[in-house]
Amino acid sequence: MIGFWTLFYKELLRFWKVAFQTVGAPVLTALLYLMIFGHVLDEHVQVHGVRYTTFLVPGLVMMQVLQNAFANSSSSLIQAKITGSIVFVLLPPIPYSAFFAAYVLAAVARGLMVGVGVLVATVWFTELKVVAPLWILAFALLGGAMFGALGMLAGIWSEKFDQLAAFQNFLIMPLTMLSGVFYSIYTLPAFWQRVSHYNPVFYMIDGFRYGFFGASDVVPEISLGVVFACFAVVTLLTLNLLKRGWKLRA
């Protein structure tokens, strides 16, 4: 267990040492989104019976939780692979399951830290209330873990920074931006509503938002089930690759 805790601590320390970039920057980005979209739409749009900025904040928080959980595990792995420092974790007797757990937990920690930062920075612009805190926590933890695991998968698969960037730009960004962060999917045409239901991030955002409003597009139990199923699939796939040493051990 000491190996696991050390790897977890090392991953925490790694992002904390550059917290200005890994925590501060995403908080600022979310604040800019809120100021721009809020300024343009707050007077004209209401969703689930609340002002647009109030509707927007939980989505922004969850989006940053997910994106930063992904960024943490994926960037750590790709940097270690490219610089060769991955040998320091491959040489010791750390089981692949502990390796996985340490990276994913650290990714969740960074995601939550950024999420809390975004909430603290944006809550002053809204009348946000917490209706169901356990749902908020459940979706933040499980969504962060799912994206942390996905980040590991991307980090293992990528051999160059541009491959990871492609994963981020062509999969993660569209999935998060088209998940209902900025709108309720019921404002979309019927076809795009159906398409949105195939996006797992939609369930993460929608379930997380339920914790603030007590209202959502899909019942939270179903959303949590979808998120858990996605997490389980990505976890099994990543564990299998780690066990085989795919792209890590030649």
Binding site: G3, T6, K10, G84, V87, F88, P93
Partner: protein, 239 residues
């Protein structure tokens, strides 16, 4: 003499390239063993297979009787490897690097031993310096220190003096000799043949993934009277 390292008929291909073509070796406990050969001979592939960084296609590799695949935890605990590449984690200073590496091997409080390693490798003044700020030679010393944090009985040094100044070489060899004297098995690959000649009790010469000569340094030298190990090396490779 018990086997510190046992390698039996190990084969490894990278695509169509055969990197190891059935290598068998046995290295006794407490030996100072040299693994020599030209670039591409398979030395690093063999060491990487022993360390579990590469999976051999067939054959078996054991460290003090523990199979590197089936019993990887114990095998890795018993092995310390100084990699050939000058790699480092740029986020940490020297002490943090060594503390983290100790933790990976399940050792929580290791500061006394870390201090001793730092002193022996002349790194004490650099303990709180970030890895990025160190010179190449200093980074090489930290790599050696990282391989030693868990006091492994078997230590593999893959070209540890490449690009390193004379002073460090002397200090390093003095320290490694001391470790060998205390019972640690040392496996050394180097292109500095005079170092191998002075340090190693037994030497294996590798070429194209095979061991083509294996004997005590004295016997190898005796086969070519009046010559240096470099002469032995050149003649053996050209045979």
């Amino acid at each position: 003499m018990a086997a510190a390292v046992s390698i039996v008929d190990v084969v490894k291909h990278f695509g169509s390239l055969q990197a190891l073509a059935g290598v068998s070796l046995e290295i006794g406990e407490g030996e100072f063993f040299g693994l020599l050969g030209p670039n591409g001979a398979g030395k690093t592939t063999l060491i990487s297979s022993l360390a579990g960084l590469i999976r051999a296609d067939s054959g078996s590799l054991k460290v003090l009787g523990h199979d590197v695949i089936k019993d990887f935890r114990q095998a890795r605990r018993l092995l310390g490897v100084v990699p050939q590449e000058l790699v480092f984690d740029p986020f940490f200073n020297v002490r943090e690097t060594l503390q983290i590496q100790s933790g990976y091997f399940g050792i929580r409080k290791n500061d006394d031993w870390i201090d001793e390693i730092l002193e022996n490798l002349d790194l004490t003044s650099k303990a709180d310096v970030n890895m990025r700020r160190l010179s190449g030679g200093m980074k090489r010393r930290v790599l050696v220190a990282q391989a030693l944090v868990h006091k492994p009985p078997v230590i593999v040094l893959d070209e540890p003096t490449a690009g390193v100044d004379v002073e460090l070489r002397q200090g390093l060899w003095q320290f490694v000799r001391r470790l060998n004297g205390e019972g640690h098995t040392i496996i050394l690959t180097t292109h500095y043949l005079e170092e191998a000649e002075a340090l190693c009790g037994r030497i294996a010469l590798m070429k194209q993934g095979r061991v083509i000569a294996l004997d005590t340094t004295a016997n190898l030298m005796a086969a070519h009277p009046g010559g240096t190990l470099e002469d032995v090396f050149v003649r053996t490779m050209n045979q």
